[in-house]
Amino acid sequence: MSTTTTKPAAGTTTATARAGRYLTFSMAREEYGLEILKVQEIIGMMNVTRVPRTPDFIRGVINLRGKVIPVIDLRRKLQFEAKEDTDRTCIIVVQVQQGDTPITMGIIVDSVSEVLNVSASQIEPSPEFGFNISTEFILGMGKVDKRVIILLDADRILSTGELNDAAASVRG
């Protein structure tokens, strides 16, 4: 991981900034959290239009009350095994900042659980697993009542650069 050297420093300085309310959801028996301030709404699973020649973690686009927004499949993004959608599968619509422009996108997760308050003392920096396991979009680990919640950085889950690179690689 190229960011390994900077990561611990960033972790210590902003731990307090990361405290707050998180929307937790589960995927493959792991618990994840997204900053509630970034979450716009949660909608049930709906028809997603596949967009050709995009990376496979992009499920496609949906019509959110007249606005076309991209939807990413978090399972694919985190390289989990694909799984059929169930009636608990839902889309968390988040508003993220990409550079200067706010972007609305949907994230498909297995099921949402609750909104949880995570204080600064409960947050630990994200672990280092060495090569091959990307932790750049993990804000930190939240430990609440023996549970471990992986706090995700919504801004980094889908970066335009990544998408463009992907598109370019398909194109080339």
């Binding site: 967009v51 991209p70 422009t101 463009n164």
Partner: protein, 912 residues
């Protein structure tokens, strides 16, 4: 201005100087205006020494405005002192040698601020332009408005400059240009935009008959310089350079001395120029207030602009009334006084520019009074407040009159109350209490039945027709409204003698509301949503199951209303193509000059409305095409044209019109026409066509749009046109348009651009490929067909070709390009859509056609931008998202992937 008038104006200026409030730049700038007028007057009457003194004051005032002197109060005192010396000089005629020597350089080069009399102002000029700071007492909205309005004004100025070359329009053009520049000068001086002000000032002096031949070109450069200056003040660009060179040129062109006859032409077209702001001498108001019968005046300014002026100034007047009412309870409320002043000032400025001089005169006088009120010299209460109210009413009357004028061609003469009101305002501004007689007249007028009778002769033409109407009116209204009423009735007669007026195109008056563009877009978006929801509801199968006849009928009604709403929403974004067209006038001028050809541009259909985005986007391609038309299309020189039996002056037509749901824009020249043999030769040379390939005329001409063609130095000298033609086509295609060429050798060439009415909606064919649905814009489809069995041939086991009517068309399968499973395998089961890109036909294989519909285009958002082959999304009637195919890109990626495939020598199936 005669000597006594000068003296009087000066007196007012002295007074204003003594009372000037240094924290209020408008006061100072009105002082500046006054001195400038005086300077002009003095130069005209050959009082060089007095003029020099004026200039001295002007320079000091500039320094004060720019905050360039340490001791502003001292500087103002200097101004007062100089002014009083000047007063003595004018009154006693005593020579002023010693004073003139203080400013030796000033008379020589007043137009060139680079060489000013005092070294102080030299640094001042550079310092001011180096860092412009918005004067603290001018509010941001005013600056913004200025910056947003002025580009259009400059465009207007440019159009006027171009008219200068036509002898019959010259005088009028000079007059309107002067008015325009003067106005700009005033506003820019308030905003301390020194670069613009200086340019205006220098240019204004230049605009005197006879114009030197070089003037129009210099003027165009001045306008360019002002544009860049505006951009600089707007924070959009660096400080404009080369201003000093321009000033030097202006100074060189400036007439050496103003002769008497020049002075006359000088004075008549621009009355605004001479009026001193603080106090207008009686003789000057006189022409406005003449009691002699007036027939009404034809409108001289730009009718379009006047049309815009009417609602705008009415709005200002409404605001003014609101402020006045507030001032009724609190006479010294600074905020309301400022608002009031601004309203009158804007009306004055616009009216001056539009040559509505009576409105200007009244607004001006009111403004002077209000200015005093803002300084605290006059308390705006009692009589003063009353007079301002009356001025507001009268202005409204007069603006209504202008509106009538737009309809009938003649503006009714102003109310008889006007001269009296102007006098009263002036008296009030001067701090006098109007005499008893003046006081009683306005009060008595509405009541006394004699008063309206007296005003009738003012409109003699109207009398016969209007008499019954007039007497039927309630007496109390007559004093004012009788003036405009008879004029309306009498309009046909009054207009008759003026029938020869060149610009009697009568415009329909429309009310206009300014709306924030973002809000408008949101409204349009929301209506788009409504349309989709509506069709989702009315096409819902659940609903159909339970539907009763009344429900179906109501749904039909809902559908109709929704469509109407949608059409309305679309029309909101429409604007006439005029602004873009008018810019081309300048372009022709420049290109013609550079190439040394004679050429005129004939515009038609400027009223044609297009989506705003299209109007903005069409500018670049038009520039290319028109430049090409003049540069390459027209014959090299007049002799050649005459030899070919054409008029010496080349002609380029620019037309816009509606036809069959599309907008067409044509650029046509009457030049040599395209040389098809040369194009063919070149194309064969570059391997773009095969030897012996039969091409239609249209296909040959379309070759010039190929990228390879444009960069070629020359095909021959004759058909070297095509510089940037591929760019032209790209731009037009980006607007979802098409461009076509037709040409007759020796007769000229015509480019026809076909554009959709709007960018927000397209006609699309919905096709399916496997489980996926895609929308193909109808505009890019040549045809679609179901191929005969065996019509599709495999080539080298890699590519496929469709043989259609003896033509072999490369065929690509969308499912392979997009890796879609479950699509039809045999082409004869599917649908081939034939599209044309870069002049080549290509077939795309889809499964079938689902339908055709109008589609509201949505972007896929920033994160999904640049997906190859997909140009956008659309909400389908079932609420899902459909993707719009970018046909050109799709063909390209299909080719690429096929090449890649070929290189890897794999079979199609495996990659798919």
């Amino acid at each position: 201005m005669s000597n006594p008038e000068c003296t009087k104006a000066l007196e007012a200026l002295c007074e204003a100087a003594v009372f000037a409030d240094l924290s209020d730049l408008r006061t100072v700038s009105s002082l500046l205006d006054g001195f400038e007028n005086l300077d002009v007057a003095c130069s005209k009457s050959k009082k060089e020494s007095a003029a020099a003194l004026c200039r001295q004051c002007i320079q000091r005032l500039h320094a004060i405005i720019l905050d360039d002197v340490k001791d502003r109060v001292g500087a103002l005192k200097d101004v007062c002192a100089t002014a009083s010396q000047l007063q003595h000089h004018l009154r006693d005629g005593e020579p002023l040698h010693e004073l003139v020597q203080e400013a030796p350089a000033a008379p020589a080069a007043p137009a060139a601020p680079e060489a000013p009399a005092e070294p102080v102002s030299e640094s001042k000029a550079s310092a001011s332009s180096a860092q412009w700071t918005q004067p603290s007492n001018v509010d941001q909205a005013f600056v913004n408005e200025f910056l947003s309005v002025q580009p259009a004004v400059l465009d207007e100025a440019e159009a006027i400059v171009l008219k200068l070359s036509e002898p019959q329009e010259r005088t009028a053009a000079i007059a309107s240009l002067r008015g325009l520049l003067h106005n700009l000068k005033g506003e820019s001086s308030i905003l301390a935009m020194r670069a613009i002000e200086q340019l205006c000032h220098a240019t204004e002096e230049l605009l005197v008959e006879p114009l030197p031949a070089a003037t129009p070109d210099v003027l165009l450069r001045v306008i360019d310089a002002m544009r860049s200056a505006l951009a600089y003040y707007g924070g959009k660009s660096e400080e404009p350079a080369g201003l000093s060179a321009l000033h030097a040129e202006l100074a060189r062109l400036k007439p050496k001395s103003a002769s008497d006859e020049q002075a006359n032409t000088h004075q008549s077209p621009a009355p605004a120029e001479v009026s001193a702001p603080a106090e207008v001498p009686a003789a000057e108001v006189a022409p406005v207030t003449v009691g002699t019968p007036e027939q009404g005046t034809p409108l001289t300014g730009d009718l379009e602009l006047i049309q815009g002026f009417i609602p705008e100034s009415k709005e200002h007047l409404e605001n003014a009334v609101a402020s006045l009412l507030a001032l009724g309870t609190d006479a010294t409320n600074k905020e309301h006084l400022d608002a009031l002043f601004r309203a009158f000032h804007t009306i004055k400025g616009c009216a001056g520019f539009l040559m509505l001089d009576k409105i200007q005169a009244l607004a001006h006088q009111s403004e002077s009074l209000l200015d005093k009120a803002r300084n605290g010299t006059v308390i705006l209460s009692g009589l003063a407040l009353e007079a301002t109210f009356e001025a507001t009413d009268l202005l409204k009357e007069m603006i209504d009159g202008v509106e009538i004028g737009l309809k009938t061609g003649l503006v009714p003469p102003p109310s008889a109350a006007m001269p009296e009101l102007v006098d009263r305002l002036r008296a009030l501004a001067a701090g006098q209490t109007p005499t008893l007689k003046q006081k009683t007249v306005p009060a008595a007028a509405p009541a006394a039945p004699a008063a309206p009778a007296a005003t009738v002769p003012v409109v003699p033409v109207a009398v016969a027709v209007a008499q019954p109407v007039n007497s039927a009116l309630p007496a109390s209204d007559n004093a004012v409204s009788a003036q405009s009423l008879p004029a309306v009735v009498a309009a046909p007669e009054a207009a008759a003698p003026q029938a020869a007026q060149p610009r009697l195109t009568l415009l329909k008056i429309r009310d206009a509301v300014k709306v924030d563009a973002d809000r408008l877009d949101r409204l349009i978006d929301t209506i788009g949503e409504l349309v989709i929801s509506e069709s989702m509801v009315s096409q819902s199968s659940d609903l159909r199951k339970h539907a009763t006849a009344p429900l179906i009928r109501q749904l039909g009604q809902l559908d109709k209303i929704t469509r109407e709403l949608q059409e309305m929403a679309m029309s909101l974004r429409m604007m006439p193509v005029r602004t873009t067209f008018q810019k081309m006038g300048r372009l022709i001028h420049d290109v013609a000059k550079r190439t040394g050809k004679q050429c005129e541009l004939i515009l038609s259909g400027e009223e044609t409305e297009l989506d705003k985005a299209v109007v903005d986007g069409i500018g670049d391609p038009l520039v290319h095409m028109i430049r090409n038309a003049v540069d390459h299309g027209l014959e090299a020189n007049a002799e050649e044209r005459i030899k070919a039996g054409k008029p010496a002056k080349g002609r380029v037509d620019l037309r816009a019109y509606h036809k069959g749901g599309s907008i067409f824009i044509e650029v046509q020249d009457d030049g040599r026409g395209l040389d098809r043999d040369a194009i063919l030769r070149k194309a064969a040379e570059r391997g773009l066509i095969r030897d012996g390939e039969q091409l239609s005329e249209r296909e040959i001409f379309n070759l010039i749009f190929l990228p390879g063609f444009s960069t070629a130095k020359t095909v021959t000298d004759v058909s070297g046109r095509g510089v940037g033609m591929d760019v032209v086509r790209k731009n037009i295609e980006a607007l979802r348009g098409q461009v076509d060429i037709s040409s007759q050798p020796g007769q000229g060439t015509k480019f026809t651009i076909r554009l959709p009415l709007t960018l927000a909606i397209i006609d699309g064919m919905v096709v399916n490929v496997g489980q996926e649905r895609y929308i193909v814009p109808t505009l890019s489809i040549v045809m679609s067909l179901r191929p005969q069995p065996g019509a599709v041939k495999s080539v080298l086991n890699r590519g496929e070709m469709l043989s259609y009517q003896g033509e072999l068309i490369p065929l690509f399968r969308i499912d392979r390009t997009f890796s879609i499973k479950g699509a039809v395998a045999r082409p004869e089961d599917g649908l081939v859509i034939i599209v044309e890109e870069d002049g080549k036909r290509t077939g795309l294989l889809a499964d079938g056609l689902l339908g055709q519909q109008q589609i509201v285009i949505k972007t896929l958002g920033d994160s999904m931008r640049g997906i190859p082959g997909v140009s956008g999304g659309a909400i389908m009637p079932d609420g899902n998202v459909g993707l719009i195919l970018d046909v050109g890109a799709l063909v390209r990626i299909s080719q690429n992937s096929q090449q890649a495939q070929g290189a890897a020598a794999t079979s199609n199936e495996r990659v798919a």
